[in-house]
Symmetry: D2
Subunit: 379 residues, 4 copies
């Protein structure tokens, strides 16, 4: 039995992605947001995530926004679907072509704040618990174009503004800043989960507790970093309100493959880490259909994510129940008995370094056992 | 049942690696070559691979060399172990500090040839079928230091010399050139399996057929290339006398992890490809113990490789026997019925591009089925 | 003085790129092809390159195609602009969503051939000397979806078909296959210049001489390979009909930055290599405007490429004339005097390996001299 | 004129590196520490950096340690050389084969603390201002071997212990934790400057102010991150007591090339950032000789670093004085005039998004100007 039943959600933009990219045009027709909600619910998700523009077309007025939100609420109620996370699209419109909160144009920075306020209102209206801020355009290609310290200062101003807005509005949502190293910008500010954690430490203490990280598996894999360790650091810091799950071939453009489709071993350890930590935040699939998928394949995409998460969670149970693995793990630890704690005693203590060097660590056996467990041959 | 029973071998240098690297000294004592052979045999390997200096200490004379070879033969016979592949170490000695066959010093190039001749003699004596050439020092850090065209020309001269030596000596060994993108040099000439295939095409036709590629899983993963495709291209060209197997976290220094330890899905497709092709060359594990392994862990290392190969081969069987997977695969193909072959007819043919665009390809379902098969939940 | 005056061309798609990508919509209006030609000519380019669909809208009939080609010819004549390279767009249309020449649908493969024929006709009509084949969709995300050997066989059939078509039509164009490791596909077949060279060696000898490589700086940098060495191998093999020039931050999505914008040292050695080899093929800039560029910035983009190429060529001159650098280079070489060539003599020769190991190689000084030369402080 | 005259130092381990690595043995003889100090001083460095074991052989007693420190002091005085940074080697000895401060063996963790105390004593004795902690072995290859949260907790305990030791001993040294993503471990905890900043935020507030980051150019380039942005974040957080400078081909094993040898443009922006920030901490070259360097080339290595730093600093001056560049930069900014600050006013404000989208940003021209400035053609 897992420690926590995972809340599995998915973004509306995932299933709605029509396939347009630099080298090719759309391969699927637009997907109506209400149909999209029904599709996601039918495929077994607990909740959904959205950008303002995913639900309400860019440029809609207040009346239209309200109408869509009411309709959304009706579909949610009908399908038993939760609105888990809201976010604002600050990257698609040409106004953001050189940044939103970090634009060198003060008008763009202000416009981005306005757009974030409205998206937060929508999220609050639908009962979201998390407000994600992904700064997809907060970066550069031309190093001369910014003093990166100034960009960070603008970024901080923007995040603090939104955090204060949430607080002043009485909204309960946590902010989760999403790191990414590059794409669509050549270099994005706050490229890793660590850099977001470091950035949060510089925020106004009055709002700092409201801000955490939204790490994404794929974004760490793009630069060949270990995402289990990224997430562990967020947990260690008490700053993991949300996580984005998917898969990615390493060292490439952002693929957003189906969760579990790549790197089974490290993905298993991510699932294990989250459950070990009794983490009960929203597990959000942030994936894209293949460009070759037809509308009929979208439900398979959603179901595959959920299925792989649950299968890996079963393997976590088996890992915990595996006597040999648990013995090997126990063998790997030596407790502190007899080692001095005190500075003076420690200075004088004579360590037998050869003994320390010779200690056996049965890691080949342990790692092979994990591989075989994942392949289902230890049951 | 697999199409071909794989011949699983391992390098003497693998188990003998004592742990010395840039940042740390040896963690294990030297391993006597004869003990090493017995260890490998006991752990279940079919064969072993060696550099000249792995068996016979650098600088040994003819008498000592003969003595060691005779002893080796006795151990091989006693253990039922095959000498599968020989190679020459042209990278460890400081004489090769700036290249061996591509050194700008003609004396070093000649010395490298002499050393290769002696290693080939040893390989022939022990009955090896493959002579690997890994140009670990054939590269540079200082781009100005070489005209890369001249380096390729020297490289070609060297390979042709060795190939002629094998032919003239009546040795049956195939040459297999091993690509690697970097490490220990900043950039190594012939960085990928493709570049070796391209290089072979420029060799003297009189020796070209004797030369193929020795691709290594890890070396492709170091630059995030798809090693299944690398190996497929070697097979397609009829140039795969040998393969080096192991595992590697992507985009990093050369790790030489235990085969199967990473990237289970792509590794499965490699095993499938080799068996699909009825390939019966030597499957060589080229792995390193962890620096934390004690001598007692070395046998686990060898056994783990073999075990994972066999487990993946079982999964290949299951893939072939899986009715749903086979149906999905069939669905993905459309045959040529009705499509003109002839240029004039083809020019005039009216394709329905919208129909082509709309075709369903059940890849989400197919890929998810593969993941579940690998996790052992489709049996 | 350079050995060869470089022919500097640019693709119509470069300046016409409106900015649409996965995360954002167009930031620039469409650019009329004839205006584009004038822009390129005015900015100082010698020639231009085009996909069929860049000049003639997808789906145009023969009359419309002829009309556009005649208009193009008029503009070319008026501006003194050369049509350098033609290619066919086999990646943008949804019909190619899972491959063109390597699609598992025989109809798509045939349609791709038909489209290539028409593009070749257009190229011949405008006097192009090179026909590039970039297989942007020839790849996969789902490894199970293809036997990669079958994909290579289909690819070969397709290339041979086009090569025969060129020959049978009496067109003088060389084919240049363009490698790329990934994007838009997860993995693209023929990922590197080496893999293309290896592939060419498997082509029908009757057409093989017509086929070469179109290496691109950025595509090698995406996987952190050394593009100077890639191009050197193409030159060494006599298979460089064309080259794509630009810049790229390493290990990222395909950026297509202005030539010379990154990695000045390696870019210098590329310019030097091409001029050292007296290579006189078309130097094609394959770059994209920043998404933040307005139409007014496009001419700066074109001019910057040309300017940087010429500046680096001046540095090549200085490198050749720099007495200290030339002396250092001479110091790095030792000729073959006294080293035996013959196998028996070589076997018996006693090398002084310690002397070989101790030889001085003034590479720190040489590399520093290159850096300072590039910074303009040795003039 | 630069804002700050840079303090340029180098590590004793740099020039003393004899060339031993996984694939090859030493190419240079050992370098006596006192000779090393003289070499560094003669080559023009302001200061030097050292690991405990660089100066005093591992296992030396107190008397020997004192003797060496006195001799060191004499040489420093004679040469006018400053001891800038001290650190402890917690990675070379086999006792640290599976971690030091994060070992699962409590004895190893304690031994590592003891060793750090002694190294700190040495640093204090010689007047160092910074104590670097590079956790070269704090990582893993076998994900199952650690709960990464526990590893981080042990790491924190260790850093806090050392920080308290410095405080209690009355030492003025700042601690600088050095991130690295991998090598020698498969994955190292605290892989990036960001992750160190995030980690510092979790330290006991009583010691937190004493701890900062020691970012290294090469370690960021290994995973293709932007090191200018990494350093900017450290400056923004007020946590940059020290910096390690060198060069690195991207996406590869740790090369430690001469500063300025690669990526001239981004390196220029690093020098500019440090001077823009009036940063006056120690600029430490952390580089390695090529394995092909003889002892006679070591001075060239040291001098090259210093020379390139000064040349780039001159370019920073030129950048500031370049009228066109300064005008272009001014054009890129739009101030906040007329944009509402207040939430209610902002909510109601009507932005002209088309105008924001259409704004001209002369980045092609700006970036090209920087490239030409670096090439010395704007003087």
């Amino acid at each position: 039995m897992p420690n926590v039943e995972p809340k599995l959600s998915i973004g509306l933009w995932c299933t709605a992605f029509a396939g347009t990219e630099v080298f090719g045009s759309a391969t699927r027709p637009p997907l109506d947001p209400m149909d999209n909600l029904r599709l996601i619910a039918r495929a077994g998700a607990w909740g959904f995530n959205f950008h303002d523009d995913d639900l309400v077309p860019f440029g809609s007025d207040v009346q239209e926004t309200d109408r869509v939100l009411q309709e959304t609420r009706r579909v949610m109620d009908g399908e038993g679907l939760v609105a888990s996370m809201a976010t604002t699209n600050m990257f698609a419109h040409p106004a953001f072509k050189d940044g939103a909160l970090t634009s060198a144009d003060a008008r763009v920075r202000a416009y981005a704040r306005q757009k974030a306020m409205r998206a937060a209102d929508m999220g609050a209206e639908l009962g979201c618990s998390v407000f994600v801020m992904w700064g997809g355009r907060e970066g550069l290609e031309v190093e001369a174009s910014r003093d990166p310290r100034e960009a960070l200062a603008w970024y901080r101003d923007g995040v603090e503004f939104v955090a204060r807005y949430l607080a002043d509005s009485g909204y309960g949502m946590q902010i989760a800043i999403e790191p990414k190293p590059s794409e669509p910008r050549g270099d994005i500010f706050l490229p890793t989960a660590g850099s977001v954690l470091g950035f949060i430490a510089t925020l106004d203490p009055a709002v700092r507790d409201r801000v955490g990280v939204n790490p994404e598996v794929q974004h760490a894999r793009m630069v060949n970093l270990n995402f289990v360790h990224e997430v562990a650091q967020c947990l260690d810091a008490g700053k993991l309100p949300h996580i984005d799950l998917g898969a990615q071939k390493p060292g490439r453009f952002d693929q957003d493959l189906r969760f579990g489709a790549e790197d089974i071993k490290e993905t298993f350890f991510l699932v294990k880490l989250l459950d070990d930590a009794h983490w009960d935040g929203p597990h959000a699939f942030d994936v894209k259909p293949y460009r070759s998928d037809t509308p009929d394949d979208l439900e398979d995409l959603v179901r595959g994510n959920i299925r792989s998460y649950r299968l890996l969670l079963e393997r976590v149970d088996e890992f915990r129940a595996d006597a040999e693995i648990q013995e090997l793990l126990a063998e790997c630890r030596v407790d502190a008995a007899g080692v001095p704690d005190d500075v003076d005693a420690l200075r004088a203590f004579a360590f037998d370094v050869d003994e320390l060097a010779a200690r056996r660590l049965p890691y080949q056996r342990l790692d092979q056992a994990v591989v075989e467990l994942l392949m289902g041959v230890r049951r």
